[in-house]
C-alpha cells in the first residue's frame, strides 16, 4: 500500500511534467503578482522603517515567500472530487481497496512537490536577483520553515477535502469552492500579513485555521519569530490538523451512506 501511494505521487509528478507549458505561464503570473506587491508595499512604507512589526526587507521576503509557499500547498483536489462526484467516477474509486481521500491527498502531494521544485524554486531564484531578499540564515531556520510548510500543505488539503466532500451532499458547489479559494487567500495572510488586520479581525482569525496555511510558515521564513515561537506555531498547526480531521471523517461516513452515482 505504501508502495502504491509512492507510485501515485510519482505519477502525478510525471503528469504535471507532461503539461509543463502551463507552468511557464504560471511562473510569469506569480512573478507579476510578487512584483506588484513589492512596489505596493514600497509605496505604503514610504520612508518608515517598520510597519506592523515588519521592516521593508522582511515585508518583501514575506510577500515573496508567501506566494512561493502557496505554490506548494495550493491544489485543486476539491475541484477534482467535485468532478468525480458529478461524473459518477466515484463508482470506480469505490471498487478499489484504498481510501479515496488518502489517494487524493497523495496526488495533491505529488503536485505540490512538482510545483515546489519547478515553480517555487526557480521563482525564488529569479526574484532574489531583482528584489532584496533574505533567506533564513541557519539550517534550523530552513528546517522549521519546511516543516511548517508541510503542515500548511496538510491543513490546506484538509480544507479542500472538506469542501470537496460537500459535493456529495450538494452535487454542485463550484461557487462554494471558488469562494473558499478567495477566503483562504485572504485569511491565510497571502494578501495581507495577519498582523496588519484590525484587532477584532485578528482575534476572529485566531479561531480559524486559515493563518496556519500561509501566515505561520511565511513568518518563520522571514525570521521575525524566535525558534521557540516557531515551534509554538507548528504546534498550532498540528492541533488544527487534528481538529479538521474530525469533520472530514464524519462527512466521509455520511457521504458513503448517501452516495448517489450519477449517470447510471
Amino acid at each position: 500500500m505504501h508502495k502504491f501511494y509512492m507510485e501515485l505521487i510519482r505519477m502525478r509528478f510525471l503528469t504535471m511534467l507532461a503539461y509543463r507549458v502551463n507552468y511557464y505561464s504560471g511562473i510569469i503570473i506569480y512573478a507579476i503578482n510578487i512584483g506588484a506587491y513589492y512596489f505596493l508595499w514600497g509605496a505604503i512604507y514610504g520612508g518608515q522603517q517598520q510597519l506592523g512589526g515588519l521592516s521593508v526587507a522582511q515585508m518583501t521576503s514575506y510577500v515573496a515567500i508567501a506566494w512561493m509557499s502557496r505554490a506548494f500547498y495550493f491544489n485543486n483536489i476539491d475541484m477534482e472530487i467535485a468532478q468525480d462526484v458529478r461524473e459518477g467516477k466515484v463508482a470506480i474509486e469505490m471498487i478499489r481497496p484504498y481510501n479515496y481521500l488518502s489517494v487524493k491527498t497523495a496526488q495533491a502531494f505529488g503536485e505540490g512537490i512538482f510545483r515546489f521544485l519547478f515553480f517555487a524554486g526557480p521563482g525564488i531564484f529569479l526574484i532574489s536577483l531583482i528584489i532584496p531578499f533574505h533567506f533564513p540564515a541557519t539550517a534550523q531556520g530552513w528546517g522549521l520553515y519546511l516543516l511548517s510548510l508541510l503542515f500548511a500543505f496538510l491543513i490546506n488539503t484538509q480544507v479542500n477535502l472538506l469542501t470537496g466532500l460537500l459535493t456529495f451532499f450538494m452535487f454542485r458547489n463550484d461557487g462554494m469552492i471558488r469562494a473558499k479559494r478567495v477566503i483562504v487567500d485572504l485569511m491565510s495572510g497571502l494578501v495581507l500579513p495577519i498582523s496588519f488586520f484590525p484587532g477584532w479581525a485578528q482575534t476572529l482569525m485566531g479561531f480559524l485555521p486559515f493563518q496556519a496555511i500561509n501566515y505561520y510558515p511565511s513568518l518563520i521564513f522571514t525570521g521575525v519569530t524566535s525558534a521557540a515561537r516557531a515551534w509554538q506555531l507548528i504546534g498550532f498547526q498540528v492541533i488544527w490538523m487534528v481538529v479538521i480531521l474530525i469533520p472530514i471523517l464524519i462527512l466521509w461516513r455520511m457521504a458513503r451512506s448517501r452516495l448517489v452515482v450519477q449517470g447510471g
Partner: protein, 336 residues
C-alpha cells in the same frame, strides 16, 4: 457465496416546481419524492455460478450491482458476499471481487493499459512472479498484446473494453461483476469477451455475474437468469425454464402447393392445443406449445395430409421472451 436478503434501496429525488415562481420556492423548500429502486430482493448464488441479471432500463439492475459491489449503501436488507458485508467492510471486500462497468473506464486515461495494470498490481499488492504469469495469460487470452502499451485514449472501444476486463482481473478475484460489458461492441469483440469469460468460469471456477441488455450474451454465457422489473425480482431460474415459462412455444410455417384454409388444417389436427394462423392462401402458421411430442406429430400429420412445398420451424428466441416479460406485469416465478 452471495447471499442477498430482502434488499431495498430508496432514493429521494428532488422534484422541481414549474416556472420561475416555482424555482424561487425551490430555493427555500424542496419537495422530494421517494423512489424504490430495489424492492425486497432476495437470492443466493453458489461458487462457480455464472448468471445474468436482466431487466429494462431503470429496473434496478445497476443499483443492485452497485450495492453488491459495496459502492452504494442499502436502505435495508442484508448482503453477505465472500463472508463480507460489502458496504461495511468495503476496503477488504473489494480485494476479493473484480468489477467492469461498461460505461465507465477504470483505466487511467493518459497512461497505457500496461502501466495501469502495474499500478493496480501495487494497489492490490499482487505477488510479483505469480501476478506476472497471470497477467501474461490475461493478455494472451484477451488478445490485447499488440496495443497494451499505447495510451488508453488512443484505443478503440473494443480494445479498451478488453483491457478493462483484464484490469478488473489483475488480482485474480473469486467473483467478477460485469455491468453491461458488451454495450456498443461489435460481434467479434463480444464473442472474444464471451469466450474468455466462459473459459475463466470453467478453469478458475470464478463466479461471474453480469447485467446486460444483449440477449445473446445470456444465451452464450449463462444458465441462470434473474429478471428484474421495477425493482422487484420477477424471475429467478434456469434459462430453459425461462423459455418454458414465458416463451410462445414453437412456430411452424407451412407453404402449401394448393390453396389451403386454416379450418382444413384444424380438421386434420383435431383438438391439438395449437393456434393456426392464415398468412395467405398458400401459407399457414401453426404455433405449438413447447413439448417434446407435439412438434413431430404436427409435422407428420400435416405433411401426410397436404402437399407441402416448404416448412420452416422457428424457435422463440430469448429476445422474444424478454420482450414478453417486459410487456407483462408478471407474477414472481421462483427458482429452487
Amino acid at each position: 457465496m452471495i447471499q442477498v436478503k430482502q434488499l431495498q434501496k430508496e432514493f429521494r429525488i428532488h422534484q422541481s416546481r414549474a416556472g420561475l415562481g416555482g424555482a424561487f420556492r425551490d430555493l427555500f423548500s424542496r419537495e422530494y419524492k421517494t423512489v424504490k429502486a430495489v424492492d425486497n430482493l432476495s437470492f443466493t448464488v453458489e461458487e462457480g455460478e455464472m448468471f445474468a441479471l436482466i431487466g429494462e432500463n431503470g429496473a434496478g439492475k445497476s443499483t443492485t450491482i452497485k450495492m453488491l459491489t459495496g459502492i452504494l449503501t442499502p436502505s435495508s436488507g442484508d448482503i453477505v458476499i465472500n463472508g463480507f458485508v460489502p458496504f461495511k467492510e468495503r476496503e477488504d471486500y473489494v480485494r476479493s471481487i473484480g468489477v467492469v462497468f461498461g460505461q465507465r473506464s477504470q483505466l487511467w486515461w493518459d497512461l497505457s493499459p500496461l502501466e495501469s495494470f502495474r499500478l493496480l498490481k501495487s494497489v492490490y499488492k499482487v505477488d510479483d512472479t505469480a501476478g506476472e504469469k497471470w497477467l501474461e495469460r490475461l493478455i494472451e487470452e484477451l488478445d490485447i498484446g499488440s496495443f497494451v502499451s499505447q495510451p488508453v485514449r488512443k484505443l478503440s472501444l473494443g480494445q479498451r473494453m478488453r483491457c478493462e476486463v483484464a484490469a478488473s482481473l489483475i488480482h485474480k478475484p473469486r467473483l467478477l461483476f460485469l455491468d453491461e460489458p458488451t454495450v456498443g461492441l461489435d460481434v467479434l469483440v463480444k464473442q472474444k469477451i464471451r469466450e474468455f469469460l466462459r473459459n475463466l468460469n470453467e478453469t478458475e471456477k470464478m463466479t461471474i455475474l453480469l447485467t446486460t441488455h444483449d440477449v445473446s450474451d445470456i444465451e452464450a454465457l449463462c444458465k441462470r437468469v434473474l429478471v428484474m422489473d421495477k425493482g422487484k425480482l420477477i424471475f429467478d431460474g434456469l434459462l430453459s425454464d425461462l423459455k418454458e415459462h414465458w416463451g410462445n412455444g414453437t412456430e411452424v410455417s407451412f407453404q402449401m402447393k394448393k390453396r389451403t384454409k386454416a379450418s382444413e388444417l384444424r380438421n386434420v389436427l383435431g383438438d391439438m392445443p395449437c393456434t393456426i394462423e392464415q398468412i395467405n392462401d398458400y401459407s399457414l402458421r401453426v404455433q405449438v406449445p413447447r413439448s417434446q411430442e407435439m412438434l413431430p406429430f404436427v409435422l407428420s400429420t400435416v405433411m401426410a395430409s397436404f402437399d407441402v412445398s416448404d416448412v420452416k420451424i422457428m424457435e422463440t428466441s430469448t429476445e422474444d421472451i424478454v420482450r414478453n416479460i417486459y410487456r407483462t406485469d408478471g407474477e414472481v416465478a421462483s427458482h429452487a
